[in-house]
Symmetry: C2
Subunit: 227 residues, 2 copies
């Protein structure tokens, strides 16, 4: 394996271990020793990639802002839906993703490393702006505001649904959330074409995985950091 | 002051002190000593009302499920809107209310005392059911599901808006959230009558306060606990 590829793989291994520890214990009780033990890497390797526990949290947050699994669709609005549906499918199975919500909703901890909500909001707003330029949105829709609200609503539905119910229902809840939002933002001709079935995320994710046995380090991973 | 009224006042004082400590520090670092000092009551008085820190957290959560300030309206759906608008107005000013969100979103802590989300959801669902019986909702609307989603969405918008922006904007964000939900649930004739202006909560709350210099212990306080 080339040296660079090995470095990327080690970094990913460390982030996944950090994600699983943060997700299980929360930020403060998480220890570097436990992360090292789960990652199966040396202390030197970890500190080569991350300067501190805060830095690990930042890495987990950045990694969790991802549109991996979202394939090009007829309408931009369907892609906007797919981002949230694929995430609802993946999150309960991937500690790195659910860790990002746990880290962000810890008010004391997040003062140290921030949240990824601004990045998410910016990404979704860019998608909605493109949808609007294509005439898919009602004229009064403000892409920034809808993106920001949707990030909040998605996050809150995840938090409350984890607390109230079994996992596995998140996909159905997020599908219903889209059903609430979409009539207020989509033009009727587009609205009727949108697929918000609860299994949408699972189908998209399978299609993406089938598309090419892609290595973990392909470029459809995390979105670029904000400028 | 009658003995019973004094007891109610002391209990409220303790809950407000507990709310402010939980809101500031989070559950785990909060100490009974600090709560006692803020409440200005004796240890005996506190333990007369609450058996433990967990019990205090439960008390704060129960107290925060409140429709105080919501006055009877022409439509039930306007009252449903007013619940969330009044809360958006009050929450940034009342630590007891914001503490309930901090307590509930702490995954480790809430395993000890639960959350108030099920109570909220039940209350909003009952309002929506009444609205539906009166013909105010579209026929396909499932009051339980909308109530549950809205509790999640409201909570998440509060969490993310606190993290991303200045306080004071919560009312505008929650107003916009209602604007997203309502076209999917209200019949057109009712939809056009609904007031979701950002200052709705402030106006309702003032009207309520003006209505009668009510003492803090009036019966429009917390909703009854779930059966």
């Amino acid at each position: 394996m080339a040296k660079q590829a090995r470095g990327i793989q080690t970094r990913r291994q460390i982030l996944e271990a950090a994600g699983s520890v943060f997700d299980e214990c929360g930020y403060e009780p998480a220890t570097i020793a436990e992360i090292l033990s789960r990652a199966g890497v040396t202390r030197g390797a970890l500190y080569f990639h991350f300067a501190s526990k805060e830095d690990l949290a930042r890495g987990v947050l950045a990694e969790a802002v991802t549109a991996e699994g979202v394939l090009p669709q007829e309408t931009k609005l369907q892609e906007w839906v797919d981002v949230g549906m694929v995430l609802a499918h993946r999150l309960p199975k991937e500690p790195l993703l659910s860790a990002s919500i746990r880290l962000s909703s810890d008010r004391k901890a997040r003062a140290l490393f921030g949240t990824s909500w601004a990045d998410w909001s910016e990404f979704l707003s860019a998608q909605l702006t493109e949808a609007k330029d294509r005439g898919e949105l009602l004229p009064h829709v403000d892409p920034d505001r809808i993106a920001r609200l949707f990030v909040g609503a998605w996050t809150g539905v995840e938090i409350t649904s984890t607390a109230l119910r079994e996992t596995g229902e998140l996909e159905a809840e997020i599908a219903a959330l889209y059903d609430c939002f979409l009539p207020s933002i989509a033009v009727p001709g587009v609205l009727r074409t949108l697929d918000t079935s609860p299994d949408r995320g699972a189908r998209m994710w399978q299609a993406h995985r089938a598309q090419g046995d892609q290595p973990e380090t392909d470029d459809s991973g995390p979105l670029p950091a904000r400028a």
